[in-house]
């Protein structure tokens, strides 16, 4: 079973595959260059104590993103139980 959501809506411990990112915004291009491309596996590790930013792991690196950007990354949920795995 799989369903769609944005990266911002995932809770800690959930992992997903990136479906799409908004295109043409310079800021989002940088996220792609940091490895957040369609098809990449991404896991939410935790949220900062005040709710933001979000720590995600992608392609072996750990990145912190704000909800504004994470909300523009559409993901397909794959595995709710896994704690990050090799994302």
């Amino acid at each position: 079973m799989s369903f769609f959501s944005t990266l911002a809506e995932l809770s800690a411990g959930q992992s997903a595959v990136i479906e799409a990112l908004s295109s043409g915004r310079a800021a989002m291009t940088r996220l792609r260059e940091m490895g957040l491309n369609p098809g990449a596996r991404v896991a939410v590790i935790r949220r900062a104590p005040l709710g933001e930013p979000l720590e995600v792991s992608v392609r072996g690196s750990h990145l912190a993103l704000r909800l504004r950007e994470a909300g523009q990354i559409r993901v397909r949920l794959t595995d709710v139980a896994s704690q990050g795995g090799q994302a």
Binding site: L21, S23, G24, R25, A26, A27, M28, T29, R30, L31, R32, E33, M34, G35, N37, P38, G39, A40, I45, R46, A48, P49, L50, G51, E52, P53, E55, R59, G60, S61, H62, L63, A64, L65, R66, E69, G85, Q86
Partner: protein, 693 residues
């Protein structure tokens, strides 16, 4: 194939290139030892580090440590410098003959992104695969030979922190012939290639690129997103933007597609090079972060760390600062003893020696703060601090990296502003520099204390006085936040930046590297800012000494000096604030440094033996009357003065460091105008409102 010797006969130049946190600087330090020089690239505040090392057969090799970057599509002056040096576009730095690409093996996929761009540039390259131990700890196995085979360039496994693999790396670096990479991660789409050809022809007409430049040059110039546009002249910018608009119109999203295609190629490569287990063991970093980023323990740890840092900067630095002041004081006495009284002696003792002391006295705080920052950067904790504080700083439009520099400014804005180098976004860095001096620094404390006791004579409880003091700190902080909020909407408005913060793995810090950083920062401060501070101190000394008056009374001599006359001269401007010309002298004399206000007022009122808590000065101030016989230091005047000192610049050292760190006179003057103009307005408001009571 390319020969190691460059055309000019000078030793070959090797550029060290890599992502931030890949261990690039550690490797550079290990290769060069202390044989390195640090300067700035002209026109930008990016550090240029060059050094030398010897190849295996004793031949000299020149090394340049280029700024860490994620991509050649520059998003900051750091990344623009890397792009321009590698393309040979900077007139101050020759194009490197070879590249040493440092890759963090435990983060190979992401590191290969920049690598794939650099390998296409046509420079002979060696890959230093660093941090293999971290990759192994994740259960990864790396087929270095497969990587070498696929890329077509030598791959050397190394461990910069322990020196493992350095000999092999040097051997590869000193080979006389090195192959060029045969890996082409992406092919440009035919229509993009055609568009780039046309744009290259246009850029070549404007002299921006050579007629025969590689297509990659226009490609990376068009994808420049550095808000400060480092490396471009004014006229070139329009051409670049027109070219970008044209390409974006005919091929919307071409940059995004290129980035995706690169990662697709990298994924294929990594599938052959990396063997990763299905379930990775929990890393040390994950285990540490469970505590250090925990909502409660993480916050407690931050608080403890900051209390410790402030204890170091405020209390521990106090000792050496006292020794420096005493030392220069004794030197002054010694000179006074041996030199006959006269202008020369005054210049040496009150001008020069005082001026040097005023520069050197900053060193203890700078050394401590940068040791601390070096430690936090090296271990990887700095990014965690930014992660925890990001939400708070985002309220005023900044990000978490601005937290530590701003906080340090409560001790002193000079090291605080120097610490903004850790902020990679040029916009946030500039805003942080502009607001930092509004944090109430320790030099304001003596002024606050004097004026609070003048405001509230002895019988008021200490608690109330302490509350007023806290109120002043809060007022300055509020001012800084309001200014940040406003600046965020006014300057560099068109910038579209995402906050992306990398949380690197924790690492053992390298003491040698940290000490080197501390030394480089201290040296830069003494050479660049120190000379300006020294010069202005002498000017201010001269202004309060000349022209000379024969009176034995110091207050009369001061009144007749240039500073005294300026105090009179500016009286019309400061009278609406409730001040007279004597306070005017204090304002003028303390323009170089706030704390001078206390001593100057003691001289103005001819108070002998100004003791530690300036009790006699306070008594004298309480008796001071205006010409009409009314009390001068009313609560309104004291409050107005306090507000003035919360906001006014009144610190030449800060101005000198702002000039250096923004590499512009403009921002220094803008900041002076905002702070001192704002201080005047708010002090005016305070005094005029107080008169209604």
């Amino acid at each position: 194939m390319s020969s190691a010797a460059s055309d000019s006969g000078s030793p070959p130049l090797l550029a060290i290139v890599g992502n931030p946190n890949c261990g690039k600087t550690t490797l550079f330090n290990a290769l060069t030892g202390l044989r390195q020089k640090v300067a700035n690239y002209p026109g930008v505040t990016v550090e240029k580090k060059v050094g030398e090392c010897f190849g295996l057969h004793g031949q000299r090799l020149q090394l340049i440590d280029l700024p860490g970057a994620y991509s050649l599509n520059a998003r900051s002056p750091d990344e623009a410098v890397l792009r321009d040096v590698l393309l040979g576009r900077r007139s101050d730095t020759r194009r490197p003959d070879r590249v040493v690409l440092v890759l963090d093996a435990s983060n190979l996929e992401r590191n290969l992104y920049l690598a794939s761009q650099v390998l296409e540039l046509g420079l002979p390259t060696i890959i230093a695969l660093n941090m293999v131990d971290l990759a192994n700890a994740k259960g990864w196995q790396i087929e270095a030979r497969v990587l070498e085979e696929a890329l077509g360039v030598p791959v050397v496994l190394c461990q910069a922190t322990t020196g493992k693999g350095l000999v092999e790396l040097k051997a590869a670096m000193s080979q006389s012939e090195l192959p060029l990479s045969r890996w082409q991660a992406v092919e440009l789409a035919e229509e993009v290639r055609a568009a780039l050809l046309a744009i290259r022809a246009e850029l070549a007409l404007g002299g921006m690129v050579g007629q025969t430049a590689s297509l990659l040059e226009p490609l990376y110039l068009l994808s420049d997103h550095d808000p400060l546009h480092a490396g471009f002249r004014q006229g070139q910018l329009g051409q670049i933007e027109r070219g970008r608009a044209k390409l974006e119109q005919s091929h919307p999203g071409w940059e995004d597609r290129l980035a995706d295609a690169r990662y697709a190629a990298i994924e294929q490569l990594c599938a052959r090079v990396l063997r990763r287990p299905g379930q990775e063991p929990v890393s040390l970093t994950s285990r540490l972060d469970r505590w250090l980023l925990h909502p409660v323990f993480g916050a407690v740890f931050v608080l403890g760390l900051l209390v410790f840092l402030f204890y170091l900067i405020f209390k521990v630095a106090e000792g050496p600062m006292g020794w420096i002041e005493e030392g220069f004081g004794s030197l002054g006495q010694w000179v006074s003893h041996w030199l006959p009284a006269g202008d020369l002696r005054d210049l040496l003792v009150d001008g020069a020696i005082n001026g040097v002391a005023g520069v050197v006295v900053f060193l203890p705080q700078i050394l401590i703060l940068f040791f601390f920052i070096g430690l936090m950067e090296d271990t990887g904790y700095m990014a965690r601090l930014a992660f925890l504080m990001d939400r708070v700083m985002s309220l005023v439009g900044l990000n978490g990296k601005a937290f530590l520099p701003f906080l340090s400014s409560y001790a002193c804005a000079v090291p605080g502003i120097m610490a903004t180098r850790t902020i990679d976004s040029p916009k946030h860095r500039l805003i942080t520099i502009l607001i930092a001096p509004l944090a109430s620094c320790s030099a304001r404390l003596p002024v606050y204390l004097l004026l609070i006791s003048a405001l509230m004579p002895g019988e008021v409880s200490v608690l109330v006085k302490a509350l007023v003091l806290v109120g002043l700190y809060a007022l300055g902080t509020l001012g800084a936040f309001v200014l940040a909020w406003v600046l965020n909407r006014c300057i560099l408005r068109q910038v579209d930046e995402a906050m992306v913060l990398e949380l690197p793995s924790y690492k053992m810090p390298s003491l040698r590297g940290i000490l080197l950083l501390v030394w480089q920062r201290a040296r830069a401060f003494l050479l660049r800012a120190g000379t300006v501070i020294f010069g202005i101190s002498i000017l201010i000394w001269a202004a309060s000494t000349y022209p000379k008056h024969d009176s034995a009374d110091a207050s009369v001599r001061l009144e007749h000096s240039v500073a005294g006359r300026v105090g009179h001269f500016i009286e019309p401007v400061i009278r609406p604030l409730g001040y007279d010309w004597k306070i005017g002298i204090g304002l003028v004399a303390s323009f170089a440094a706030r704390e001078v206000f206390v001593n100057t007022m003691a001289v103005v009122y001819a108070v002998e033996d100004n003791d530690e808590d300036s009790a006699s000065l306070r008594q004298r101030m309480a008796q001071e009357k205006r010409a009409d016989g009314s009390v001068l230091y009313t609560p309104g005047v004291c409050l107005s003065l306090l507000v003035f000192y919360v906001f006014a610049m009144q610190c030449v050292s800060t101005m000198a460091i702002v000039r250096r760190e923004t590499d512009s006179w403009k921002w220094m003057w803008v900041q002076l105008a905002i702070m001192s103009g704002g201080a005047w307005l708010l002090a005016l408001l305070t005094y005029q409102v107080s008169r209604w009571w």
